[in-house]
Each structure stands twice: as structure tokens, then as C-alpha cells.
Amino acid sequence: MTVKECYEVMKGDYDDVLSRLRTDERIKKFLIKVLSDPSFSQLCTAMDSENMEEAFRAAHTLKGVCKNMSITNLAYSASNLTEALRGRQTYGDDLEPLLKKVKKDYALTMACIQML
């Protein structure tokens, strides 16, 4: 799978990332780093233990990472969750679908990157 194809499948913006990072080689190098980025698992752990502050930070970081790599789809769902978590003290059921969406998009993204 080429980098371009990868972006198509995981619904990212290939043109944008290429314009910023300039080469496929560099894009690939950093996509692989996304695999080992801990913010998603930190997010899950924090949500499980209903630690809202940590969850916000992790979601925020995940969003930043995705934005940097123009992984638009996951960036969008992470961003929605981040905003729902911002300034929040307690867990609520409204978070559940947002987290679920992030998990789904994350799984797709990881699968695509692994095929590079």
C-alpha cells in the first residue's frame, strides 16, 4: 500500500500532509510513530477510571498528533471528545458514543498504517 492509498482508506488528507511534510518518506516515518504513540491507550485507561482531567489531556494529545499527520477522520472524532471533556469534572453517558467513535476510527487508522 502506498502512503497515498493509506490516507484514502483511513480518510485522511494526503495533499495537506504532503504539502507540509514534503516527502512520502517523511510522512511514512511519522505515521509509524503514531503506532507507538501512547495517548490512545492513556485515553482509554483514563476513561475507564473516570479520570476526567487525564482523559482530556490524552484526547487533546491524540487530536494534536492526528492533526499533525492530517489523519482528518480520527482527528475529528478525537476533537469532538476533547471538547466534550474540556473543563469537565464528572463522567457522563454522553461521552460513551464519542469514545466509541474514537475507538472505531483509531482501529481503522492503525490497521491502515500497519499495512504500509
Binding site: 495537506d16 500532509v17 504539502s19 507540509r20 511534510l21 514534503r22 517523511r26 516515518k29 511519522f30 510513530k33 503514531v34 504513540d37 495517548s39 487525564e54 482530556f56 489531556r57 487533546h60 494529545t61 487530536k63 494534536g64 498528533v65 492533526k67 499533525n68 499527520m69 492530517s70
Partner: protein, 682 residues
């Protein structure tokens, strides 16, 4: 020194840091921190090297705003540009960041060209700023130096005609400055600030410029002036003033105005009895009042054609008592209270040094008041001081560490770190093995608490802790000196702490105590120690049996007389040695006086065999000298249980031998009760 410039990237996402590093690492060396706290530690260490910080806002432990606040408190923000790299571009966030001194921001997603451009331009800008302030500093320095030089040349010309050494101008300058500084601490009446003080001190050099028109026969006349000559001499005040007034340009210059005051009125007196105008009290400008006093003091303490030099104390007394006319009481007070300090200052003042030091302090003040950052020179000086501290602490082979309050960290001296097996830099103090292993539980927190509650007035701390030094529990003294900021109220910046092993000290005291029990000449126990041990054995005697043997030398006097005292001393040592060798370690062997010894020993059946053996060993020849002792023995066998009684009986038995044939031993029996009544227990 052509290393790449350093950039610090602070972001909790390793990904983001890696991206930025990738974009910047061609041109810069990259340092990374995953949160504000780590960043602050890196900044603390590399403040001078880091040319730019890229800073995220949302981070664990310490966020970007907190780091910016810290950078403000530490003053780093003035020298190091900060670019925000947060995904948070909400205007409230950015406003707050700008308000805290951030210079720019780069939004996510990062665009390589934008990142490089923003970083490059901000680095260049900051560099230009630094360069400019260094140039400014250099210019101020040069200008100040030139000004001073011109004034000094001019005044030396005057003094040269005057036949004076040239030191007068320098002394008057130093005294004037000293008095003004002291005066400014006591009163606000004269609005004395650094600038004015420096101006008056500089202008003081011109006080006698009018003497240029006085004929040198009068100037250098050794004897008393005639009235007419004195009038001419006095005119130097008005002449000097006139010269300054006639300067065609820049008559508004403060330096010229003040010089005018000084020239004209530095011979006025506070009671109105000076010249030329007879001004009184505060009619005389403060500049002229102070220079007048400085002039008089230096004239008194220097030799002149018409007088010898008076000593410092006498000069001060003369001025205070009004022998040289009346001065402002405030100035007399300063002289009375700080006269000695002034004297010391003048001793230190040598020509070249003083003006270089002056210029340095002017420069430092100018830079400070005009808000410019530290110049390269100061940075170099600072580095020099650091190196000095480092070398000294290594040489001392002591465990020394520097405690830094914010960010909280410890820097151990290299030797100390090596010795303790600890890293040089220690963060997360409370959990570090330095705080938990080297210090016992709670001790380190207690020490930190002490440091934190110290005050600038009470900045020394001495505590004793038991530390684990390489696995050995060791008593140590901890000396700490806290360091506070200049701010009001002062803030604790850190402390220098020294750890000294006092275990040796303690064991030394123990061995000293032991020393006291001993008889100095022979190394046996002394009387006091022997008595204690015997008392203790007797108090717990049970069924055991003890014998006390008392003996003295029959012929020590003969030895001393015939062979000298050195031999006598050797003989005593020999007896002690032999006695020691022929008794058991648990026996008490003591020398209780000149040639008198006792042995206190346990026996089972009968003591006679033991005593006999000891007696025969002691009385063997020492070289060719026949040793002769009179020995008495008393037994503690249920009847006698008291040291005093036991001792008296043994002593009586010994003297019954001495009175008889000498050189024998004998056990006490009732018949000896009346021997030697005149001798008590020693």
C-alpha cells in the same frame, strides 16, 4: 565554538516533538522536554545556551502557562524567545500566552516552512537584541571612561601646580561618594539617587580648578599667609566658579551646574563663617557641603607644605569638634558612625583600581535601571565564578550540594556524587534515593522544611543527621546557607549545603575519655579509674574472692640520683610493663602515685601463688639494676568489701615490709593495724 544553536521543544507528545525535531534538526541542536517541569530543569542548566523554546500548552505535571510564569519569575523570558505550538488557538489562550511574554505561535498541524521561518526569524531577532545591548554596554563603558579620564587629567593639572600628589582628587572623589551614599541612607531631604551621587562625585574633582590662577608662590608657601595673601588664596573659589560659568556652551549641563556649586562654595561653613559668600546652613548646596568635608578630611590626613599628616582618628575628632569650622550635623553623624569604614575604604583605594571599579558599578547600575539584559561581560564573569566554585568544591573533597528551589533540584559536587554513588543532578527530591537512602526517613524533608522556613536574616542552618554513606551509618553535620532573591519580600532561591562527617570527631572524643582514665607515663589505669572498677567489682562480689596488692619501689630515689631521672622514668615504665604482662586482662592494674602501684585480682583458692609469681617477676633485674619492692596484700573475702578499707590494709602490709627488711611481700594481718597511722588513703 561553532556548535549549532540549541532549541528546546516542550510537548508531551513524543510524536509532535519528533516532527518538529525533524523539521529543525538541520540547523539546530534539539533538546526535548515532555512537560514544563522537565523543561524548567533543562532551562536552569542551559539558560545561556538555549536560543529559543517551542512550547505546548496542555501538558501533564506542569503546563505551558506555568512554565511561562516561571520563566518570568526567573527572568529567562527576557533572553529566550518562546513560540507557542499548541493546538489551542482560542484567542483567550493566545492572549494569555502573549501576556506572559510568548513572542509568536505556530498552529497545528505543523507546516515545515512555517515552523522553520518562525523559528529562524525569532532566533535572529533575539540575537540582534542581545548584540545591541552588548554594544550599548560597551558604549556606556567607553563614554564613562572617557568622561572620567578628562576630569582626572584636568584636576591633576591643578594639583601638579599645587605640588600635591594627585591622590587628593581621587581621595576627595572616594570620600564624597562614600558620604553621599551614607547620607542617602539616612535622609531623603536631598533627593540623592545613584545618578546624582555619581554626578557630584565626578564634579568633586574640579573643586580646586580656580587655583590655576593663584600665583604658585602663594599656593606653595610653607609658612603662614599674610592677610593679603589669604585673600588671594580665597579667591580660587570665585575664580573656579567664574571659569565654569564662562563656558560658552552647554551651561545647562548638570555636571557644569554642580561643578559650579562645588567650586564656589566648598569653603562655606554650616554656621555661615566660611567664604566667599558666607552662606549658612542649607543655603549651601549639599554637593558643596559634602565636598567641603571631604576636602578637609583629606587635607588633614595628608602631609602639606605647611603641616604634617594627622592620623585618621585625630582628623575625625578635629572635624567633629569643629576645629575646621562647622559642618552639617547630619554629615558629622555619618563621620562619627562610619568613619572607620571610610578609613578602610580609602586604604583600599588605589588609583587605577578605583576608577575601573567605579566604571563597573556605574555600568551595572545603568544597565539595571535602563532595563537592559546582562551583557556578555557579566555572563563571562558569572561563568568564571561558577568554575571557581566548582573547582573549590572538588578540591575540598567534601560533599557539597546546591539546592535550587524552583525548579526544585539538587546539584551535587562531582566528588560528592562520586563518593555517595549518586547522580550529580537530582530531581523529584522527595522520592530520590538521595532523600530516601542517604538520608534516613523524614530527615531530608525536615531539612528542606528548615531551608524553606529560613529568612535572609537567619540564613545559616546547622543540623546533625545520621546518613548512610556507602552503606555505613555515619553521623554527619549538615551546614546550609540559604540564598534569597533581591525581591521584596525576599524569595528563597536555593541554598549551598555542605555535609561533614563527624563520626571521627565523635570517636575521637571517646578515645579522649579513655585517655583520661589512663596514667599518662605508664599507660596503666590511674587511681580514679582503678577505684571505680574496684568499687564496681566489690559491689557485686557475691561468692567471688579478690586480692588487692599494693607495692612501691624501695629504690627509685637511688635510681634517680645515681642514673638520672630519665632512667627513673624508664624503670617505672618497665615495672608497669612487667606487671601488665603478668596479670590477666580482667585484673585491674594501676599506678596510683609516684612509685606506687596496685593490682586488684580475683582468685579462687588461695592468692599466695599468684602474688608470689608477680613479686618474683617484678623484682627481676632491670638491666643491671636490682629492682626492690615492698608489697602488701589484703583480701576481700567476705569480711572486707570496701575499697578504702582494703586499700589501707594492703598499704599497711606493704609498709610493715618496708619498715622491716624491704623487698618482700606480706599479707595483712591484725598485728599491722597500727602501722603508719599518719598515712591516709591517697
Amino acid at each position: 565554538m561553532n556548535a549549532k544553536k540549541k532549541i528546546l521543544i516542550v510537548d508531551d507528545s513524543e510524536m509532535n516533538r519528533a516532527l518538529l525535531e525533524d523539521m529543525l534538526s538541520d540547523d539546530y541542536e534539539i533538546l526535548e522536554a515532555e512537560n514544563g517541569l522537565v523543561a524548567s530543569q533543562i532551562l536552569q542548566e542551559n539558560e545561556m545556551d538555549i536560543c529559543l523554546v517551542l512550547l505546548d500548552i496542555v501538558m501533564p505535571v506542569m503546563d505551558g502557562f506555568a512554565l511561562l510564569e516561571l520563566m518570568n519569575r526567573k527572568g529567562w523570558i527576557k533572553n529566550i524567545p518562546v513560540i507557542m505550538i499548541s493546538a489551542e488557538t482560542a484567542s483567550t489562550y493566545m492572549d494569555r500566552a502573549y501576556g506572559l511574554g510568548a513572542v509568536d505561535y505556530v498552529s497545528r498541524p505543523f507546516d515545515e516552512r512555517t515552523v522553520r521561518h518562525r523559528v529562524d526569524s525569532n532566533v535572529i531577532l533575539a540575537e540582534k537584541q542581545r548584540d545591541l545591548s552588548a554594544r550599548l554596554a560597551a558604549q556606556i563603558y567607553a563614554k564613562e571612561k572617557d568622561n572620567r579620564l578628562m576630569i582626572e587629567i584636568l584636576s591633576h593639572i591643578v594639583e601638579f601646580r599645587n605640588g600635591e600628589s594627585g591622590l587628593h582628587v581621587i581621595h576627595v572623589h572616594a570620600i564624597t561618594e562614600f558620604l553621599l551614599n551614607q547620607l542617602s541612607k539616612r535622609t531623603r531631604k536631598y533627593n540623592l539617587n545613584h545618578k546624582l551621587i555619581s554626578l557630584i562625585s565626578n564634579a568633586s574633582a574640579l573643586h580646586d580648578v580656580g587655583k590655576i590662577v593663584i600665583p604658585s608662590e602663594i599656593l606653595n608657601k610653607p609658612g603662614k599667609f599674610t592677610d593679603e595673601e589669604f585673600e588671594i588664596m580665597k579667591s580660587h573659589t570665585l575664580e573656579g566658579a567664574k571659569m565654569l560659568k564662562d563656558i560658552p556652551f552647554r551651561s545647562d549641563e548638570p555636571l557644569i551646574k554642580i561643578s559650579y556649586e562645588i567650586c564656589r562654595w566648598h569653603h562655606e561653613r554650616y554656621d555661615g563663617r566660611g567664604y566667599p559668600d558666607g552662606l549658612k546652613g542649607e543655603e549651601i548646596p549639599i554637593s558643596a557641603q559634602v565636598v567641603a568635608l571631604a576636602d578637609v578630611y583629606d587635607a588633614l590626613t595628608s602631609r602639606r607644605v605647611y603641616k604634617p599628616a594627622f592620623p585618621h582618628k585625630q582628623a575625625i575628632d578635629m572635624i567633629i569638634n569643629g576645629a575646621c569650622g562647622a559642618f552639617n550635623p547630619l554629615l558629622s553623624d555619618v563621620l562619627r558612625e562610619c568613619g572607620d569604614e571610610l578609613y578602610l575604604k580609602l586604604q583600599e583605594t588605589s588609583q587605577g583600581d578605583s576608577s575601573a571599579a567605579e566604571i563597573d558599578s556605574t555600568l551595572a547600575r545603568t544597565l539595571k535601571t535602563e532595563g537592559t539584559e546582562a551583557s556578555d561581560r557579566t555572563v563571562k564573569l558569572l561563568e568564571h565564578e561558577r568554575t571557581k566554585f566548582k573547582i573549590l568544591s572538588e578540591l575540598s573533597r567534601e560533599i557539597i550540594f546546591e539546592y535550587n528551589a524552583e525548579p526544585e533540584m539538587i546539584t551535587l559536587s562531582e566528588w560528592g556524587a562520586d563518593y555517595l554513588g549518586m547522580p550529580v543532578k537530582i530531581f523529584n527530591l522527595e522520592e530520590s534515593s538521595f532523600a530516601t537512602k542517604v538520608f534516613a526517613k523524614g530527615d531530608f524533608s525536615a531539612l528542606l522544611q528548615k531551608l524553606k522556613t529560613a529568612s535572609p536574616e537567619n540564613s545559616s542552618i546547622i543540623e546533625k543527621y545520621r546518613l548512610d554513606i556507602k552503606g555505613v551509618n555515619t553521623w554527619c553535620k549538615v551546614y546550609a546557607r540559604t540564598i534569597f532573591s533581591d525581591a521584596e519580600p525576599p524569595v528563597l532561591e536555593g541554598a549551598i549545603v555542605k555535609i561533614v562527617d563527624v563520626n571521627d570527631e565523635i570517636s575521637e572524643i571517646k578515645s579522649l575519655e579513655h585517655e583520661v582514665e589512663k596514667d599518662y607515663a605508664t599507660g596503666l589505669l590511674n587511681r580514679k579509674a582503678a577505684k571505680e572498677r574496684i568499687d564496681s567489682a566489690l559491689s557485686d562480689i557475691g561468692n567471688r574472692k579478690f586480692a588487692l596488692v599494693f607495692f612501691d619501689l624501695d629504690n627509685l630515689k637511688e635510681a634517680n640520683d645515681n642514673r638520672g631521672h630519665l632512667f627513673g622514668d624508664e624503670l617505672l615504665k618497665h615495672i608497669a610493663e612487667v606487671t601488665k604482662q603478668n596479670t590477666r586482662t580482667e585484673d585491674v592494674v594501676a599506678r596510683i602515685g609516684g612509685d606506687e602501684f596496685i593490682i586488684f585480682m580475683e582468685y579462687t583458692a588461695l592468692p599466695e601463688e599468684q602474688v608470689k609469681r608477680i613479686f618474683s617477676r617484678i623484682t627481676q633485674k632491670f638491666g643491671d639494676f636490682n629492682v626492690s619492692v615492698s608489697m602488701g596484700v589484703a583480701c576481700a573475702d567476705g569480711e572486707v568489701t570496701d575499697y578504702k578499707e582494703l586499700f589501707e590494709k594492703a598499704e599497711k602490709a606493704a609498709y610493715s615490709v618496708k619498715n622491716d627488711k624491704k623487698n618482700a611481700y606480706r599479707f595483712y594481718d591484725g598485728s599491722m593495724a597500727n602501722v603508719l597511722k599518719n598515712r591516709g588513703v591517697r
